[in-house]
Symmetry: C2
Subunit: 232 residues, 2 copies
């Protein structure tokens, strides 16, 4: 049972359609925030994640849900945006190198636009589902990046300059995938509505072999919770 959202506590929650950001939305709602979900259309090769965002936002009680478009040219050169092979069958110990699915400066751009949107709504709180444990090697998921961004955000904005008010919440930072799934399940997240796979079939079935699928599948197994993902 979700608590009612407090309109005087607005927050922006970045949604990707995946397991992590859905859990973050449930956590932010559980803390009483009125959650404005924000997803990005940045030329992803497949659209399943944007559909998942819509399902997640509506079932988890977001106050609003928007999809902002970003110019795909800015993010060229990634396996998630271009016709470059998605790495498969890497085990978790191999996931410390930056993989081909890295998208240039993606979290920085997402957080920056979220900050502009937050300020236009007079909100000072932004939630993002980055994770330093099962992070697949991306530089922009580390605590040092989030700390530095927070400092920059407070220097960049009117709300920040007026008293260091901007806060970036990363509730999943120190959790394993199994812990994330356990907490999300307790908060009522239906993971069947989420989409994690980097290389799904045309029908949206998960490949089961990309980094994202491997981490997700192992997480359900370790949590002892049935995996509702539909694999190809």
């Amino acid at each position: 049972m979700q608590p009612s959202a407090d309109p005087s506590k607005p927050a922006i929650v970045l949604l990707s359609g995946g397991l992590d950001s859905a859990t973050v939305l449930a956590i932010a709602r559980d803390r009483g925030y009125s959650c404005h979900a924000l997803a990005f259309d940045y030329g992803q090769r497949h659209r399943h994640e944007l559909e998942a965002c819509k399902r997640v936002a509506s079932t988890l009680g977001a106050a609003s849900h928007r999809v902002f478009s970003l110019d795909a040219t800015a993010f060229a050169g990634s396996a998630l945006t271009d016709n470059i092979a998605v790495p498969k069958d890497r085990n978790e110990t191999e996931m410390t190198e930056i993989p081909a699915t890295y998208v240039p400066a993606r979290n920085l751009v997402f957080l920056s636009v979220a900050l502009a949107y937050a300020e236009s709504l007079s909100a000072t709180d932004i939630f993002i589902g980055v994770n330093a444990i099962d992070y697949s090697g991306y530089p922009d998921c580390r605590p040092a990046f989030i700390e530095s961004f927070t400092h920059t955000a407070n220097l960049a904005t009117k709300l920040g300059v007026d008293g260091n008010a901007i806060r970036i919440h990363t509730p999943l930072m120190e959790m394993t995938k199994a812990q994330i799934i356990t907490i999300g399940t307790e908060l009522g997240v239906d993971y069947a509505l989420t989409h994690s796979c980097y290389d799904p079939s045309a029908e949206g079935l998960a490949c089961g072999r990309c980094d994202s699928c491997v981490l997700r599948r192992n997480g359900f197994e370790q949590a002892g919770i049935p995996d509702p993902t539909r694999y190809a």
Copy 2:
């Protein structure tokens, strides 16, 4: 006479169509960079500045010129994007307060997207025309913001993580408007092609009374250079 651009020195140059960013492009070209000009369509109330960007990029020898679109919803609440009055007839000493023309987190968003674009072109250098002297009170024009952004940018990206390679160039930071105009004139900038006014007529004539017009007009006067601006 401009030096030829070195393709092995690619840089992104943020263009606004105004006097400052045109001068920055001329400076970057003078330093031998192959300049990829980048402008943003973020729902500005008038389009004259995007037309000015095109004129400036082509006459100053940019290697490429792109306009990226950003969702206007993210930048709501500013006199530059919404139907809010542009402040007029402020003198320069009054311009230390953040004015109604402040656009939420604009330079942070512009620099972040420029960084993504830079990385997709394997470029590590970004030029922006921010200025701490005639800065009209915007928080995201100060040296502390640029320093913090540079640190964040190097943590956020593959190129940055590989050796702190990202550099944000702010050649105008410590210049007065008169100095900017003097240097730009020496480098061949035709300021008649630029557009600075926040509140132009439908035909694109400058109002002569907004902060931007006041700073520009005073700059030409102090530089002792004829002001080619067409005022309403």
